[in-house]
């Protein structure tokens, strides 16, 4: 029972990893997962996250499923 989280840019650098497994519990939202991530990696805390699954952004209240692969983005800064 886990969600696989892929980290990018500042998140990957500050967490020291590009991928992490977070234990899944029924009813878990992206916001709940973000709370877990902040506990595990306090250095991520000040950075507002963006969430995506596949190629689509999802909201903070999006309900995750067991086995989901979540993309965790810091604020984008292209251009």
């Amino acid at each position: 029972m886990a969600v696989r989280v892929e980290l990018f840019a500042a998140f990957a650098e500050f967490a020291g990893t590009r991928e992490v497994q977070i234990a899944f519990h029924p009813g878990m939202t992206c916001g709940d997962l973000w709370m877990e991530m902040q506990k595990k990696y306090p250095r991520l805390s000040p950075i507002p996250p963006l969430f995506a699954i596949g190629k689509e952004y999802v909201r903070k209240d999006f309900a995750l499923k067991d086995g989901d692969q979540l993309l965790l983005f810091p604020p984008v800064s292209g251009g």
């Binding site: 840019a9 500042a10 190629k55 993309l71 810091p74 800064s77 292209g78 251009g79």
Partner: protein
């Protein structure tokens, strides 16, 4: 459609791509790496990207632009990897029958790209390294 490039971007490729016999107005935005940012002297930038989603998100922006303005052609390209000062990071090129829609669509394209597309830049300056938007300089760096 390819939008993300690991190698140098091409103004000529963009202009050729939007050429159209009814394209009386062409608008071109070029974003280059500049020497100074927020009082820091830039050595280079490093761009990271989630390529599949970036390509998909730019495709959506292109579709939105086509729905909003009666354009002839549109071409967007963004560079990733290490870029030196003066190199081109992004090109948005649009052709339309008249200037107004070309300029408006070009502006919308670059604005949306900067707001939505999963690309991140790390600034390497004489003061150190930092990810733009993920630090105290967020407001000035995103200008």
């Amino acid at each position: 459609m390819k939008y993300i490039y690991n190698d140098s971007l091409s103004i000529e490729r963009a202009l050729n791509s939007i050429r159209d016999e009814n394209g009386g107005g062409e608008a071109l935005f070029i974003g280059r790496v500049r020497r100074h940012n927020g009082g820091r002297v830039i050595r280079h930038l490093f761009y990271e990207c989630h390529v599949p989603m970036a390509e998909s998100e730019i495709e959506k922006i292109v579709d939105e632009i086509k729905a909003k303005w009666p354009l002839r052609k549109i071409h967007i390209e963004h560079r990733v990897g290490k870029l030196e000062v003066g190199e081109i990071a992004v090109i948005v090129a649009v052709s339309a029958e008249h200037r107004k829609e070309a300029i408006e669509a070009c502006r919308f394209g670059i604005d949306e790209l900067k707001h939505r597309v999963p690309i991140w830049k790390k600034e390497v300056s004489e003061s150190g390294e930092e990810w733009v938007g993920a630090c105290d300089h967020e407001s000035e760096a995103s200008q």
